[in-house]
């Protein structure tokens, strides 16, 4: 089951504000990207969110989604980063 997914980690870091999750999720829904997991904390007043998403159903290629999310981040005033999950699995799992 796992192998048929295209798992990507989206991180959102920046000053806390109303509606950050809503706007990111709205974008993901529009693009057909399924959210698998969300964790979020506030570290020293900074909003810090990590989402695990499945990009298998996305209408656009990875690079384009990453760019658009980055742009969306600029509009909201946060930094949004899109990375394939393997880099974290490789680094933190033996």
């Amino acid at each position: 089951m796992e192998k048929t997914m295209d798992r990507t980690i989206i991180t959102v870091v920046g000053k806390d504000a109303v509606g950050i999750i809503a706007r990111v999720c709205a974008y993901l829904a529009d693009e057909g990207i399924n959210v698998l997991d969300i964790s979020q904390t506030i570290v020293q007043g900074f909003f810090n969110m990590m989402m695990v998403v499945d990009m298998k159903g996305a209408g656009k290629p990875f690079g384009e989604c990453a760019k658009e999310l980055e742009k969306l981040g600029e509009e909201i005033g946060v930094a949004i980063k899109c990375q394939r999950e393997e880099i974290f699995n490789k680094m933190h799992r033996v």
């Binding site: 991180t11 990375q83 490789k90």
Partner: protein
């Protein structure tokens, strides 16, 4: 499942601690390009390189975007040109035409360096080898991206002292030919003992004859990450210190392994090796010398430096080998002077000398690297330094290398600026006593005994 702290740790390494993949180096065999006709040879070489490496830069950029990990360099290494060119090249000038072809091919595919303008002469030189070596000063002066290396010794064969003598002269001549640019040509020229066939790092990369037609080799980096991790264990004993380095090296290498596998898959070219080297850059916080300081030395070069470097090098290997199925190349800590701000500071403070650097090369990869010396150093003195470093490699069964830059027109106390990743360097003093009669003897130093080790 991966948690937010792990994600943040990885991204902190990338964003704040200079974690990057230093190079994806595509090794390409040119053996099938050999022809006795020089224009045909050059044509074959250009076609082969631009064909095999057509997508290298594009793929590198794609991987960078997918994982948000910087891949600093995309490079090419080729079969030593002395082997490829001997049938067609009758003179040093003939070989220079091949260097121009390599430069043109490198520019066409967009890589910043191409290595393999090399000769392997650890036991002796053929006429073709000697022609290539004699062409090096002109080749490096007239090209931009070509890197050259000469292997003059090995544990199995001993040291070819005729080649050592010649290389002292060639290094000096290369410096003269590029004196308008602070003798920059010498930054692209390495002299080796026990040169590895699969090294992805410039300027010493070449694609050995034992290799497949094309392979993807990757060099990782990450001194800044190790330094930061060690800040967390200040005052802890050596056991904890070593454990921390090992764990960090594991994480760094796994990223390299991932990038190598991805590059291999996307290019349709087999994966060769990961080179585990800790490669510094002149950027603040990306320094091997700073790790040595964090281990407990006031400056790199202080008593204890060789021991600290030995343990660092060993732990990096232990952590890295666990992380990758195939490890090769140079694999160890690099201690270039001009490319490491902590090393530059140590030299300027008077803590680090050429002799101490030589001692340090006994316990790490690679050798006397990116060291500026006075431009009036005699060729025989350069050969003497080469011979010393080659002897260390030969006897200790390890790779050693020398990349010295005799800066024409400059003396001790002055600084040279190479720019970019090559950094800047204070001109270091060399021993003033001569070794002319030693170098002039000619012939070979025999291979050392492989038993009775004391």
């Amino acid at each position: 499942m991966i948690n937010i702290w792990e994600v943040n740790e990885t991204n902190k390494m990338i964003e704040q601690e200079n974690l990057d993949v230093r190079t994806i180096t595509l090794g390409i065999s040119l053996l099938d390009c050999i022809d006795a006709d020089l224009p045909k040879l050059n044509d074959n070489i250009y076609r082969k390189i631009t064909g095999v490496a057509a997508d290298l830069v594009k793929v590198g950029d794609e991987i960078e975007r997918n994982y948000c990990i910087p891949i600093v360099n995309k490079r090419i290494s080729v079969t030593p040109i002395a082997l490829v060119g001997q049938a067609a090249c009758r003179t040093p000038e003939d070989f220079v035409s091949v260097a121009r072809t390599l430069d043109r091919a490198a520019k066409a595919v967009g890589v910043n360096f191409i290595g393999g303008y090399s000769a392997l002469v650890s036991k002796g030189m053929t006429a073709g080898d000697e022609n290539l070596i004699r062409s090096i000063p002109q080749a490096l002066a007239e090209t931009e991206r070509v890197c050259s290396s000469v292997n003059v010794g090995s544990t199995k064969t001993g040291i070819d002292m005729d080649a050592v003598k010649l290389m002292g002269e060639i290094i000096r001549e290369t410096a003269e030919r590029t004196k308008e640019n602070d003798s920059l040509g010498c930054a692209k020229l390495v002299v080796f003992c026990n040169a590895p066939d699969d090294n992805p790092f410039m300027a010493g990369a070449f694609h050995g004859v034992t290799e497949a037609d094309a392979v993807v080799n990757v060099g990782v980096s990450g001194p800044g990450v190790v330094k930061k991790a060690l800040e967390e264990v200040r005052g802890a004993d050596f056991g904890e210190l070593c454990e921390t380095i090992k764990r960090t090296a594991f994480k760094i290498t796994r990223v390299g392994q991932l990038v190598a596998q991805e590059a291999s898959r996307r290019l349709g070219i087999p994966f060769g090796i990961i080179d585990l080297s800790l490669a510094p850059t002149p950027a603040v916080g990306d320094s091997v010398a700073e790790i040595l300081e964090e281990i407990g030395l006031e400056r790199a070069g202080a008593p204890g430096t060789t021991a600290a470097l030995a343990l660092l090098n060993d732990q990096v290997k232990k952590g890295g080998i666990m992380a990758s199925s195939y490890v090769g190349g140079l694999s160890g800590a690099f201690i270039p002077v001009s490319e490491d701000q902590g090393m530059i500071d140590a030299v300027e403070a008077g803590a680090l000398t050429l002799e101490k650097l030589e001692a340090m090369t006994c316990v790490c990869s690679v050798g006397l690297d990116m060291i500026a010396i006075p431009g009036d150093a005699a060729p025989s003195t350069i050969s003497g330094i080469l011979a010393d470093e080659m002897a260390i490699g030969m006897v200790n069964q390890k790779t050693t290398a020398v990349r010295l830059i005799p800066v024409i027109g400059k003396d001790v106390g002055e600084t040279v600026e190479f720019g970019g990743l090559l950094g800047h360097a204070p001109v270091m003093p060399v021993n003033r006593f001569g070794c002319e009669a030693f170098v002039r003897r000619g012939g070979r130093i025999p291979a050392p005994i492989h038993s009775f080790k004391n």
